[in-house]
């Protein structure tokens, strides 16, 4: 059986590693072959970007060689896929090669698209790429006082990141001794400060304690970079001295190029994780249109389900399990406290009180991630 994984991020790497171990005998006996195609030879720990934006991690700590993360049985190539031919079970790559498959796993991630909002690129900082996170850190270091506005566009990956960033901004300026000269303004698209009700219920009084002001039902429409004002679809204005934006996201470029779904999000069965119309194509991680948060955690749990099902298809000819919507997210509540949110399709989110020990665990997990992506944790 030819198993082809497209994408070397969290989901793609975990699924390939799980399969390489589960199917080790089959691979040795030439009954199974696992190929992973990526557009880069590096693997980035994306949640680390938030720490780079506050000077708490350096970019070199975010990367490992992708080849070093993979089981040796995985046939790894840096050769980005350019087109999918689902009816003939093959993909074409940038090098001009064709890769046929029996089972395909698409894990091509998402990308920021600040260009969707006029003026946003010119005016705003963000922490969703290495370059942008470093730029934000340098600007924060130079910031002497005034209004920092944080806007949140939809859809975006890591839905807790705006909450984490605003609390970290509070602690950052407290540490510098100029918190009283900085006005923190938080703007959110729906009528609460976070989409998950229990996170909003916890965060609102914390905002008040920290002196973080907020406006809800603010969907960013455009930014006047020259006069430093952000405008919402709802008709309000947000003046700022520094704008930090959670930019709108889209699915991957290759998904857009192949017109695989609205917004670049690939239509995916939320339980089976198969692509709409194709039982031999699985889709995991940010690139799906599954209604769960776009996080490494969701990609991780989805990858385990898909690896289990591909193994069982080889063993008994049928999948045996389904994705239950499980997500587990740490939430930094500043520089020294954290909590977490865990939920699935059937169980409401369960938020624990923030603690220093959970923050220390998150800091440890920033290194433990490399065992997760190897499929060991």
């Amino acid at each position: 059986m030819r198993i082809l994984v497209v994408g070397g991020g969290t989901g793609g790497t975990i699924v390939a590693n799980h399969l390489a171990r589960r199917l080790a005998d089959d691979i040795r006996g030439n009954k199974a072959h696992i190929t992973l195609l990526s557009d880069t030879d590096k693997h980035m720990y994306q949640p680390g970007l938030l720490y780079v934006a506050f000077g708490q991690m350096s970019p070199d700590q975010l990367y490992r060689d992708e080849a070093s993360m993979l089981e040796s049985a995985v046939d790894f190539h840096v050769d980005p896929v350019t087109s999918f031919d689902f009816d003939h079970n093959e993909v074409e790559t940038e090098s001009g090669a064709n890769y046929p498959y029996d089972i395909l796993v698409i894990a091509t991630g998402s990308r920021i698209e600040p260009e969707e909002v006029p003026g946003l690129n010119e005016a705003a900082y963000n922490f969703f790429t290495e370059e942008n996170a470093l730029r934000m850190y340098k600007a924060l270091r130079e910031f002497k006082g005034g209004t920092i506005a944080m806007t949140v566009s939809v859809p975006h990956k890591c839905p807790v990141s705006p909450i984490e960033a605003i609390f970290m901004l509070h602690d950052y300026f407290k540490e510098r001794g100029i918190r009283d000269q900085v006005r923190l303004q938080y703007y959110y698209p729906i009528n609460k400060v976070h989409t998950t009700a229990n996170v909003a219920k916890w965060a609102e009084p914390e905002f008040q304690k920290a002196g973080i002001e907020y406006e809800t039902l603010f969907n960013l429409k455009e930014v006047d970079a020259e006069n430093k004002i952000a405008f919402s679809e709802e008709g309000s204005e947000a003046p700022f001295d520094m704008l930090i934006a959670i930019p709108p996201h889209r699915g991957s470029q290759v998904a857009d190029d192949n017109q695989m779904g609205d917004g670049g999000w690939i239509p995916t069965d939320r339980h089976k994780l198969t692509m709409e119309g194709y039982d031999n194509v699985y889709v995991i991680g940010d690139c799906t249109n599954v209604p769960v948060s776009k996080t490494g955690s969701a990609a991780h749990y989805e990858a385990e389900v898909v690896a289990e099902n591909i193994t069982s298809i080889m063993r008994i000819g049928t999948p045996v399990t389904e994705y239950d919507g499980k997500v587990y997210c740490f939430i930094e509540a500043g520089f020294d406290r954290a909590t977490y949110n865990a939920f699935d399709y059937y169980n409401l989110p369960d938020l624990k009180p923030p603690s220093k020990s959970l923050h220390r665990f998150k800091v440890a997990y920033n290194k433990m991630y490399w065992t997760t992506v190897r499929g060991l944790l």
Binding site: I190, T195, L217, E233, G325, N341, L348
Partner: protein, 78 residues
């Protein structure tokens, strides 16, 4: 999608990003005049969606409970 068609957004049993975020995402991708039908098992959607629709200037068409699912239809007006 033509103005007569309805795009159904199945946000049942979802907590993050949740029904209203899913609706806002789809509304951004829709054309003026399109109808969107949100399916939600969160009763809070019956208050959250009309509040957003009213403030942003879209049109609320109907809200109906069938079994444990709320069907909330809106029309993109701008």
């Amino acid at each position: 999608m033509s103005a007569e068609e309805t795009k159904v957004i199945d946000a049942r049993n979802t907590f993050c990003p949740g029904p209203l975020m899913e609706l806002i995402t789809q509304a951004k991708q829709a054309k003026v005049g399109d109808t969107l039908e949100l399916l939600s098992t969160d009763k809070g959607s019956t208050e959250d969606v009309p509040e957003w629709v009213h403030k942003v200037g879209h049109e609320l068409i109907s809200t109906e409970q069938i079994g444990d699912t709320w069907h909330i239809k809106i029309r993109k007006a701008k």
